[in-house]
Amino acid sequence: MADHLDGSFDPTTVDIRLHETWGMSNPETGASVHVEWGLDRPRDEDLEGQLEAFFPDPWRHRYKWYRPVERLPPGAPPPEWRAEILGGLRRRLTAMGIAGADQFVAFPTGWVWIAQVMAHHMSVWTHDGEQIRIQPIDKELGMLRCYAHDSARLKRLCRWAQCQSEERCMATGMPGETRVEDGRVLTLSDEMYDLFERDPIALQDRMYRA
């Protein structure tokens, strides 16, 4: 990869640990209970069941989810760098023998830093002897969906990537919200949502410039 594409973002320093979380809320009062089980600790399903019993109806909206220990800083490379960065990742991973590396073309510009972090760890783990197979990487309901086999740490890396894509603008990497328009669900900053309403083709180009 050309030096100028590295920018100021260093994927090797990013913390990819996750908290496993559980919670419920009461929509009538706005009350909530939220548990974080600790750094990279597995959830305690039995205990979650006990806790749930303490919060009967109208408590609902139970969730079991994950939260990154650190949010990626906001930002992204310029749109014109996207294709070259992702192409570089694809070539590097393919050369290492990782199957399905061509799936990296699915990342929009705003999520390229997530792709760089994933590629970094996949490279390191392949070097350690792990055999990695990437299954489809896609966007669904404004969030990243990615699957890679076949180790627990790879699954956690995919979860980490999915969590980081939440509320991250697909065009700019700035804080964003899920927007539903004409059957499309996109995560966009206010600025990019304005662009979407004025010129959807221009937004598409910002997200997926070839």
Partner: protein
């Protein structure tokens, strides 16, 4: 309050939610990232029975961390400009006096970065005084980088004082932006930018927080 709002900035204290809610937390010993937070709805009282059940379920290794009465909604960051502080505070004091709130002069202690808090305080005290609540401002001061508001009055007046104190936490005393406490020899809550400026030019930041009043003509 409308003339204050229109003249100095777009902040409208009448629209601010001043409700409070209880947060009760536990954490696992030795792991700062393992925690449970129970946040009640606005106005709900702590449920000791539920807390005991949660404690028992989590078991050994978990311990109570804190119980906090906190604002339901965080006041947006921001503040009027420093030169407007004196006029705003004079007008707030006048409003309190007109409403019959005793020791109205205490409001003069608010630094610039916390003026939006002062505006909410005055808006509610004036309204509640008109409704018949007894409202006395005993003391307002900054201590260890956060606000202290001592009041005498009804339960909602006491809650309002708590609300003001909690809103000052992590709010820059000079600019009203997000900040944290800094030990400058005097503990102050400052934003990164205000703190950097304070290290270069302490007096300027002091003047931003508490600008000296212009001397009257003649």
């Amino acid at each position: 309050m409308n003339d204050i709002r229109d003249r100095y900035d777009t902040f409208d204290p009448a629209t601010v939610d001043h409700s409070m809610r209880w947060r009760w937390s536990m954490r696992r010993d030795g792991d700062e990232h393992a925690r449970l937070d129970l946040v009640l709805g606005a106005g709900e009282d702590p449920d000791k029975t539920l807390e005991e059940r949660l404690k028992a379920a989590l078991g050994a290794g978990w311990e109570p961390d804190c119980r906090r009465h906190e604002p339901t909604v965080r006041l947006p960051y921001g503040a009027p400009s420093s030169p407007a502080r004196a006029r705003i505070l004079d007008e707030l004091e006048h409003l309190l006096e007109a409403a019959g709130v005793r020791h109205a002069c205490c409001v003069q202690a608010f630094p610039t970065g916390w003026l939006h808090i002062a505006m909410v305080l005055v808006d509610r005290l004036c309204r509640w005084a008109a409704e018949g609540d007894e409202c006395t401002l005993d003391d307002v001061k900054e201590k260890y980088g956060t606000l202290r508001v001592h009041v005498y009055g009804s339960a909602r007046v006491q809650d309002l004082a708590d609300w003001c104190e909690e809103q000052s936490v992590a709010r820059c005393m000079a600019t009203g932006r997000e900040g944290r406490t800094r030990d400058t020899g005097w503990v102050l809550t400052l934003s990164d930018a205000a703190y950097a400026l304070h290290q270069r030019d302490r007096q300027t930041v002091e003047r931003m927080m508490y600008p000296p009043r212009e001397k009257a003509d003649g």
